[in-house]
């Protein structure tokens, strides 16, 4: 889910934090939890709150894979690409899922229903391959089953 940027809502979210630089990641997580992404409008607001340059704030947002600078789909699918999942067919699983939805890594489809993102380890390496669908963990993923479940959620 994503929402359009809203200054008042952002202010409410950020009001819970003390204005020190070490709060920047918690603030960004909170904004993303509220809106589903970090809009460009957030940058000058955070910079002014924390007495940082806009470049510094932008540098932090763009450094971390988690922070989205555009809205994601309603269903966010994270597929593990790391070695333990590779050993159990993770590469083939990911290829099948990406091909079905005609998406590349990190892409969202046109109706904004599905986003597929790479993730490097979910700690489910003993029941690989693994995925996270809207935060719910999935183990021993069979591509056909996962695709059917995502289609049912669309």
């Amino acid at each position: 889910m994503h929402k359009a940027w809203d200054d008042a809502a952002a202010d409410r979210v950020l009001g819970a934090f003390s204005p020190t630089q070490d709060q920047l990641l918690p603030m960004l997580h909170a904004l993303q939890a509220e809106f589903g992404w970090i809009a460009a409008e957030a940058v000058p607001i955070l910079a002014s709150k924390l007495n940082l340059s806009r470049a510094e704030v932008h540098g932090v947002i763009s450094f971390y894979h988690d922070f989205r600078r555009e809205p994601a789909g309603r269903i966010v699918v994270k597929l593990c690409r790391a070695e333990a999942c590779q050993a159990m067919g993770g590469r083939e699983m990911a290829e099948a899922v990406l091909a079905h939805f005609k998406l590349g890594w990190g892409d969202t489809n046109c109706d904004r229903s599905v986003t597929i993102e790479p993730v490097y380890c979910l700690g489910l390496c003993a029941v690989a391959p693994a995925a996270l669908v809207n935060g719910a963990p999935r183990a021993r993923v069979e591509p056909a089953r996962l695709i059917a479940d995502i289609e049912a959620m669309r």
Partner: protein, 514 residues
């Protein structure tokens, strides 16, 4: 009525444990959500309290619940999924559970249950014997950093204790990014109180009143459980203004990363905690002298800190009595990938790699021959079965150009293409490089290109020499282990599996699997 213990661990949840719990509750059973015992192939593994102990059933699906109850599960009745007493299970009995003694057994959110299972005795002892004797215990136990570097914990703690400053910090590195590892996650979900106690001991020992736990966004379940555990401890006064005695405050704050693997490197982690890009710092100064916010900081892995309470409770000698050579104590080994019996197996150092993979792990899940084993995460070497006599300890692995790292072991069968794995190591380094130093930032991209050329068959011998040369540059010229250790998987793949780099392009479809 007999209580039923249902794992709430993310791995068990991924296999349907929430549905099992719901079915049990609907049938009127009293349930307790626990962590996981670590036998992943039997999850969801539920246990029932009967006269004489706890018996297990697994793997259980929600659909099995009615049949289990009809079979008299609540009094330990016979059923096809019956596993007997879990403590007596062959896979459990052979282990030495120190760090994971309570994991899967206790209610992770109950301070009373924690105390009933021996919790808080370590902190109590530390407060009695004082900070210097506490550090002496940790030093004499031989405990080394379980994050991967294996640095002696006692020396680190002493360094921070001796530093003069108006404030000091303990930072727990829970940014467990290595593929094939999940021990930190399991502990935070199954026995978070032992980590809280361990952090408290470290903080008391060095004179810190504030600690941070830096966890990963990829672990939403572990983070939720750990946050609840912190709240439960705070409610009893174990954290807060009088945690270490009247007006002797101590607080732990949970912080969540944002998907950057490099933040598992301690100095990048400190930068990230300060709200900056997770870029590696040059050392010196060491974090024990100038760490978080420039203050003396002990930064230790989850497992290192969670083992401290046991050492204080049972004494340094008891811990040092097990182990191998200079690697004392136990290692929670994490068996993953293509292995028949995956899971967490805690054992003293010194088992051979072959014993771990073939005897404990039971070989591959696919039933095909084992071809390669990656030890120590994405920066660890690929070992062929010809090195299965290597004892599991820090020095023995280093002597064979490998590392045990955080204890992950990923098994591959003979369908693996090692040139593809080598290329992935370079790709992963490129994706996750913090960009601070050139060998890692640019060398990893060049490394992918060189491997692509080798596989495509042009100029093979000179490109192999170039790849080896590039790996030396990464090894010697990088600031941290990301660039410095990426050569391990690449060179071990090239050295032990050269045939995978020598195929005719037609045989591999003209390129690599991506």
């Amino acid at each position: 009525m007999s209580r039923v213990f249902v794992p709430g661990d993310a791995l068990a949840v991924a296999l349907g444990a929430d549905g099992v719990a719901e079915a049990l509750v609907n049938a009127g059973a009293e349930i307790v959500r626990t962590g996981s015992r670590g036998m992943a192939w039997l999850e969801p593994l539920i246990e029932v309290e009967i006269v004489g102990g706890r018996v297990g059933y697994g793997p259980v699906s929600a659909g099995d619940v009615a049949g289990l109850l009809a079979a008299g599960m609540l009094s330990g009745g016979a059923h096809a999924l019956f596993l007997g007493h879990i403590d007596d299970h062959e896979w459990m009995r052979a282990q030495t559970r120190i760090t994971f003694a309570r994991c899967g057994v206790v209610d992770p959110l109950s301070v009373d249950d924690y105390v009933a299972h021996g919790g808080l005795r370590g902190l109590k002892r530390a407060l009695e014997i004082g900070y210097a004797a506490t550090i002496e215990q940790i030093a004499r136990s031989g405990l080394r950093g379980r994050g991967g570097a294996g640095f002696p914990a006692g020396i680190k703690w002493k360094g921070a204790a001796d530093a003069q400053a108006d404030s000091k910090y303990v930072v727990c590195n829970a940014d467990e990014g290595d593929s094939g590892t999940f021990a930190d996650r399991m502990l935070m979900e199954g026995d978070p109180m032992s980590l809280i106690e361990g952090i408290a001991i470290a903080a008391f020992a060095i004179g810190a009143s504030k600690a941070f736990v830096y966890s990963r966004s990829e672990y939403p379940h572990a983070n939720a459980t750990f946050a609840k555990a912190l709240a439960a401890v705070r409610a009893t006064g174990g954290l807060g203004a009088h945690a270490f005695g009247p007006n002797s405050p101590f607080e732990i704050e949970l912080r969540i990363g944002a998907g950057a693997y490099v933040c598992g490197e301690e100095t990048a982690l400190l930068e990230s905690l300060e709200g900056k890009r997770g870029q590696v710092r040059a050392k010196p100064p060491l974090p024990v002298h100038a760490g978080l916010f420039g203050k003396p900081t002990v930064i230790n892995n989850v497992l290192t800190l969670a083992t401290a309470p046991w050492i204080l409770t049972h004494g340094a000698e008891a811990y040092a009595a097990v182990g191998h050579d200079r690697s004392r104590g136990t290692m929670p080994i994490q068996l993953a990938g293509n292995v028949k019996f995956p899971g967490l197996y805690e054992a003293p150092f010194g088992l051979t790699l072959g014993q771990i993979v073939n005897e404990i792990g039971g070989g591959t899940a696919s039933g095909r021959p084992v071809r390669a084993v990656q030890c120590g995460g994405p920066l660890g070497a690929y070992f062929p079965p010809s090195l299965f006599d290597t004892p599991y300890d820090y020095e023995a692995f280093a002597a064979r150009d490998g590392l045990i790292g955080h204890g992950g072991i990923v098994v591959f069968d003979d369908s693996v293409d090692m040139a593809t794995q080598a290329r992935f190591a370079m790709e992963f380094c490129a994706v996750e490089s913090c960009g601070k130093c050139t060998p890692c930032r640019i060398g990893s991209v060049r490394g992918q290109e060189v491997i692509d050329r080798i596989v495509s068959g042009e100029n093979r011998s000179s490109d192999i020499a170039l790849l080896e040369d590039l790996c030396q540059t990464l090894k010697l010229g990088s600031l941290c282990a990301l660039g410095g250790f990426t050569p391990y998987p690449v060179l071990s793949a090239l050295g032990y599996f050269p045939e995978d780099f020598q195929r005719k392009p037609a045989q591999n479809g003209g390129g690599l699997k991506r």
